[in-house]
Symmetry: C2
């Protein structure tokens, strides 16, 4: 079968690889019907060291179960499922608490040698715990929005939950990528009164406004901080969603938070040391977040997608076949596209 393999920075290829097969009794084989390229795929696309073997890519998918191991109990051949980006066994204490990304068996698709979903098919470990069965058919018109449950919508929601968004709160979203835009949806859904999107890309900010953003701040650095403070009565935003992961964006996030406020941190940090610790400390600002337990959030977000109350699928502005995936990476890296959907 064909799969997307990255061999180094800027080097993404479609390759013929061996078909996935069941290895453990709790495995399933998923035939991918929709996948996508994630902003976090752009980090290795920018900096991955050359690798002969390469890394199979992709961690967001909707697919149809093709085969299941003898210990898979809740899924059967033909089921349509969402594949969240993290593998979770569904039974450990962390999964029981709804923190599947801290599962004792956690691993991330398309990462560290795990197979990815920008492919015709892939093996799913702990299928019962990992996958979520959808109550619709594979031709459903909502497929794009449902696909965001695999990562970006759940991740934006996680940022908002950790940042304690609630009715009447002011929210600032750092990052106008798909996660930031889903963060806007999440903030509105949780009752925020004011939602400031920080971005310079006109088309993305327009999507943010469609999703519920009340203000756009296109300044950067100190000027951006001043502008957010001005918009929030002088003190900053109660909740800040950090959806980038760079030191500069983290520092901005801390600087625009209101004293006593909270930052939901979902941009994968690219540095070992975090800036702004004294600003955070003296402002009594809480910083939390991490890989979002999107598996846990599907239950809460799915009804809103099915009823059309939220439309996160609008973050997809391009769809490619498998053999055009490399161009999809390029388009996202060049900020020509917000998010690319893959149809194997």
């Amino acid at each position: 079968m064909r799969a997307t393999v990255m061999h180094g920075a800027g080097d993404v290829r479609l390759e013929d690889v061996v078909d996935p097969r069941l290895m453990e009794p709790t495995d399933a084989i998923l035939r991918v019907i929709r996948a996508s390229i994630c902003g976090s795929d752009l980090w290795p696309y920018a900096s991955m060291e050359r690798s002969e073997a390469g890394q199979s890519m992709g961690h967001e998918a909707i697919g149809i179960i093709e085969d299941v191991g003898p210990e898979v109990r809740t899924l059967k051949r033909g089921d349509l499922v969402v594949m969240p980006f993290a593998i979770s066994d569904g039974v450990c204490e962390f999964c029981q608490e709804g923190l599947q990304t801290e599962c004792i068996h956690v691993a991330f698709f398309g990462n560290n040698g795990m197979n990815g979903a920008q492919a015709e098919a892939l093996r799913i470990p702990y299928a019962d715990g990992t996958l979520y069965k959808l109550p619709v058919g594979e031709d459903d018109a909502l497929m794009a929005s449902l696909l965001t449950l695999a990562d970006v919508m759940g991740t934006g929601h996680h940022a908002a939950v950790v940042a304690k968004v609630g009715p009447g709160k002011s929210v600032a979203v750092v990052g106008d990528g798909a996660v930031g835009l889903c963060g806007v949806i999440a903030a509105k859904r949780l009752g925020a009164e004011q939602i400031i999107i920080m971005g310079r890309h006109r088309a993305r900010c327009a999507v943010a406004e469609e999703f519920g953003a009340t203000n756009v701040v296109s300044e950067r650095g100190e000027e951006a901080v001043d502008r957010v403070k001005e918009l929030t009565g002088g003190h900053g935003a109660h909740s800040v969603l950090e959806c980038v992961g760079l030191n500069q964006s983290t520092e901005t996030a801390i600087s625009i938070a209101r004293p006593g406020g909270a930052i939901g941190w979902v941009g994968v940090p690219q540095h070992a040391m975090m800036p702004g610790s004294q600003t955070a400390f003296f402002g009594n600002i809480t910083i939390g977040g991490g890989p979002a337990p999107v598996r846990a959030y599907i239950e809460e977000l799915l009804p809103d997608i099915l009823d059309g109350r939220i439309e996160p699928g609008k973050v997809f502005d391009r769809t490619v076949e498998l053999d055009r995936v490399p161009d999809g990476y390029r388009a996202m890296a060049d900020r020509e596209s917000i998010k690319v959907m893959v149809r194997p």
Copy 2:
């Protein structure tokens, strides 16, 4: 009158200074009857640059009101009050929310040119908002415990609150100074099931055990991390109280937190960059805290002191007159004393 003035690292002097006087109509003059030396006073004691003028020291006190300005409404001459370490106006939106350390008029006693409390008297700005009137007399046997309401007990409590300590939780306390020990009291008071104190100083750990610590971990670095994980079923503590402020202690705090856990950060950070950001991120660990709004916590903690349910005053193991304050600094810096009380 006499006051403690620091002129540089290791250079603390008792000096004759002008008597404090009312400057604003909301001021009061406080005659100090008890003050103390704080662990945070040891940072400048270790590293302050030489200063001719010097810095008046001390931010924890109990005293008697000697005079009030015409706009002071709730206090009168002769009242016995706790002086929290931060000045707060009592009326701004942050004070209304119980976050007095983020007051729009906040300033810290004995800091940045503000007068300190290791003195015979001092001026108290925004006296109504800053001070808390005690329901006891100045000879009360509980004076030592009441004095901790000015900082260390409220600060330990803040760490525990931010670290989400609650019934059944496992708690690790990094730092065996007075704040760490008060953190143990706070953790027990909030229902923690397991309280691990991390320290190497036998006498301090004995106090921690008296306060409710269930385990002592005296290892350091990697070994300490392993030991805490071993004691907590392999995953780390739900709540970690960081009561030091060094990069190494912060890194340890993050490493011993259970995935999904929370760190209450009250040790004033000595560095601009925080380590362990990737460990925190991938563990979905929340980091919060800052200068504790001890003024807000007095209401909650005072009854427990008056009823003898908590005895934070036991952190004081030495009392000095004003002219012996320099020796008090030395004793704390040498870890000869946990915390020194000053009786002007």
